[in-house]
Symmetry: C2
Subunit: 313 residues, 2 copies
Amino acid sequence: MDSESTVVVGHTRPDADSVCSAIAFAALKSAEGTPTTPLIQGPINAESEYLLERFEVSVPEERRTVGDYDVILVDHSERDQAPEDLSPDQLRGIVDHHRIGDLQSSRPAFYFADVVGCTATLIHELAERREVSLDRSTRGLMLGAILSDTMLLASPTTTDRDRDASAALAESLAVDREDFGQKQFEAKSTVGSLPPSEALKGDLKVYDTSHGAVAIGQIEVADSEAILTEKGAYIEAMEQLQDEGDYHGVVLLVTDIPAKGSHVLVVSTDDSAYESALDITLSDRSQFVDGLLSRKKQVVPPLLEAFGSSKLT
Amino acid sequence: MDSESTVVVGHTRPDADSVCSAIAFAALKSAEGTPTTPLIQGPINAESEYLLERFEVSVPEERRTVGDYDVILVDHSERDQAPEDLSPDQLRGIVDHHRIGDLQSSRPAFYFADVVGCTATLIHELAERREVSLDRSTRGLMLGAILSDTMLLASPTTTDRDRDASAALAESLAVDREDFGQKQFEAKSTVGSLPPSEALKGDLKVYDTSHGAVAIGQIEVADSEAILTEKGAYIEAMEQLQDEGDYHGVVLLVTDIPAKGSHVLVVSTDDSAYESALDITLSDRSQFVDGLLSRKKQVVPPLLEAFGSSKLT
């Protein structure tokens, strides 16, 4: 990369959408005549690894800083998820499907965000609109990102635009969308399986409430049985985490993608408060909830409402 | 408006783009099934008055607060230009052509911004893409906004997208674009003409520099002769403003739209510094500069560079 280059980068702790959308938007910009390089800010996860290998795309360069490059962000607009040294002078654009965050640009810039399930859906729409045809590998990564972020189009965040984009991409690739997604989630579950204490911390979010801090983790799997046979070890890891963090409670969602629901595991100082907030009845510390797929939409709001939220930490 | 309504509002001290884009985007949202009302945050200027009268559109309700409504902003993304009581919970979208500012939303939201000359250009593109046909009055206001923000497509901020949008709108209205714009600027110059001291303060921006504060005003007219015959009164008003604000200098651009250039008037404690920074030679405190139309792009950067900029105030 020379000093005139533009880079595209997703958020820290990259997921499939962050990695694949960075690659896809860099391909779109490059095809339009602005040579653009994708970056990642940390190691890729098992799902991204599977997608990159399947479509024979090399892993983007990993950096936490962007030096003097022009910068486009995908899949976030948050200072604390952006490259450490990013300045308002460098920010040239954002493509995102989250809230409007706290990043600013000093000059007019491109910003395209909407309430859809996946950033890659928006990039697919931009490519269509601008009549840029992206290569097969890039289209494969975009399909993978959409199926990941929407949990095979079953998450309540899924919109018709995600369904349309993924259908168009699957058709152009001549793959069966359901089969593609199923294989991807199986790979995610088997590649790089972790011990319970690490699996629990892999995607953990902590919220302040007036009752104390609450930690909520989520593990998405193609078959929840493998996790549930180790339930004792998971509960133990959750108890240890509760002690370490002095948490009011630790909630773990073991989300079974094919079953379209989650096993909710709870370790807390007041189980009945969690049962009441989440409308569940714990049996041996867990309950399966049909249709529960989204932590952000289905778990965090009722818990924060019941406990008196303060801010996200 | 009931409590379920959505409102669209531009920035404080509304200009034609802020007023017309609010009306146009509200029309687009309403046509799509979300009843949406445009608002303004202050009295409209002479140009907006002319456009609304010409297309028989009533002046939007004027309010500085938005209560509980869902809010979409047009033509800015700045807290200090937004309704005073706007909270992140209410912000549903932004359409803009300025920098990415300091406003945040608590939920995922729509954001469409790009480096074009006018917000109405982006709204025209959205309407085309979504296949929504807006009525004649709305299209007239959008054309007026584009011709205003781009100074009849002559400003250096003008892009091919502004040219395309305004050409398409003019064609659909069966009006001659140049003639339409000329009439609009004549109306702007004659409707509500002000005494020099008020005209000077009508669109004044103040910048901190390491030499002290610098105030830069701009007046856009269809015929600069009328202003220049009062040059003495303008210089007097600038001197008085310099005293009041303890400014290092006061610069006034009298921009002659048909002539595609500006008379630069300077009152300062060090004229030669302004001459050198702006590459002009003052004669009786002024010089006409061919092609000088944009304060933001052609006057502020060289001045801040020469004087050592700090922040915009």
